[in-house]
Symmetry: C2
Amino acid sequence: MSAAATITVDEVRAAAQRLAGVAHRTPVLSSQALDARCDAAVVVKCENLQRGGAFKVRGAYNAISRLDAGELDRGVCTYSSGNHAQAVALAAQLLGAGATIVMPADAPASKRTGAEALGAEVVTYDRYRGDRAAIAERIAGERGLTLIPPYEHPDVVAGQGTVALELLEQAGPLDALVAPVGGGGLIAGCATVARALAPRIQVLGVEPELGDDTNRSLAAGERVRIAVPRTVADGQAVDTPGELTFSINRELVDEIVLVSDAEIVAAMAFLFERMKLVAEPSGASAVAALLAGRVRLAGSRIGVIVSGGNVDPGRFCALTAAT
Amino acid sequence: MSAAATITVDEVRAAAQRLAGVAHRTPVLSSQALDARCDAAVVVKCENLQRGGAFKVRGAYNAISRLDAGELDRGVCTYSSGNHAQAVALAAQLLGAGATIVMPADAPASKRTGAEALGAEVVTYDRYRGDRAAIAERIAGERGLTLIPPYEHPDVVAGQGTVALELLEQAGPLDALVAPVGGGGLIAGCATVARALAPRIQVLGVEPELGDDTNRSLAAGERVRIAVPRTVADGQAVDTPGELTFSINRELVDEIVLVSDAEIVAAMAFLFERMKLVAEPSGASAVAALLAGRVRLAGSRIGVIVSGGNVDPGRFCALTAAT
């Protein structure tokens, strides 16, 4: 592993200082029902209650806040139809930079209007023909924009690591930290913090069975690419891990556990009924791993991240009614 | 007003000490979307995230914890098909007392099993023939149980007042406090605190249009009884204010504002989509008053209580799909 392919806990601490007063210090909640189901003391870090409805604003803001005045003037660009797009639009607005978001033409109207309401320009492409990263890179090159990728950037990863920094401060000692894995930025940042501050903590990532690219890559010892995942957990529908994030996660993550789509939806219903929390499918996947008994840590103290809550009532109702 | 018909802020402070480590200190959240809709700085006190899913455990625990050893041995009794029943069952379990809950025979199975899971005995009655308070009083008399009513008890009211005590500590100075009104216990306790600690704060209660017994009673200058309300806000379907609570609220509450059932359901959807919070209809009614423009306080700082979140996904989906 090259030295460049890591981030340090000091970079996460610096990110936390930049995020003070910008990102919410999200609450940590517990539930007797959850503890009983898991036979453990579980604390839930509620990043669904973060600004923008997901942890993503942490990384986006941290990265954009480090740009110089000229870069901010020219603006930023990203590709995403999901939470990272909203986060970049929000962070850019807060920092006075223009944002250009490359989004598939068939993305939900709410995603597009959400980004536009934050002042972003949305550029659409045909998801069946275009390569979103290549399109974003071309636009960034033409317009002099700085590309803020969703996870392949040390400042983005450092920003996401502030979730674990807060969680360890709020919850005290933990035996395990369980987090969803999509591109791998959240768990890479959090694992960096856990390894530095609580070396004996188990760091467990959770992927949907249908989107197990990081699990397969860890087994293979190198990044592998799977078919584009078809899972309810759209935030985790990633076909290959990031190069930066995989280089961190292969060193620092103890294990990836897999959950089915049905287990994810059951966790969404549990969080709604028992904890009064709205979680989107990818946001509920780490809790799903606990509820489904995929994490065997009886008697221990577990920190689990609910990473996002951006699901509209119609989709929530359709998903939970079908099970 | 007789001196007996009040509670003091010191009684609320004493309740807060009894509740320390028992009730959650629930988080206070804010939302740019809510601020923009209200043209105000709004802080939301999340009692839907309280143990048992509603503020009710505060009053129930405070009251039961003041019983002597003999009374605890004999046990407690209440009548409710809703959040107070669960709260009494939970508080009794925590304090080692038996609990008997008088519940209509056609109450949802989940309410019954919820109370039974907490160790309570459920006694059913025919809601179209029986008087629940009279039945509970008879059972309490026969068995030597202490009756813990849902709001007509100074210790219950003092317990509910701890919501405002926490909110003022967490949120700092407020221009207004907006809370749902059912039997009137929550707002009576909270108004007591607000008047003592922040005399210039406006205290506004919110009732459903279809359950406006407190509003009519304030207008009449005496308690009036309305037809049994048919509102989605089952926690506010009260036909007359409590004697104790009305005597407090007529002195301390500035105004009652009314919201329609449709506005309540719209607020539930808003809380879901924009704040990732599950609120039951009565729990969302105070937010509904803000969103519907029933509270005109442009530019001010408003504290609003989301009082409970006990709605199952099926009912939530049916309600929000119908609008």
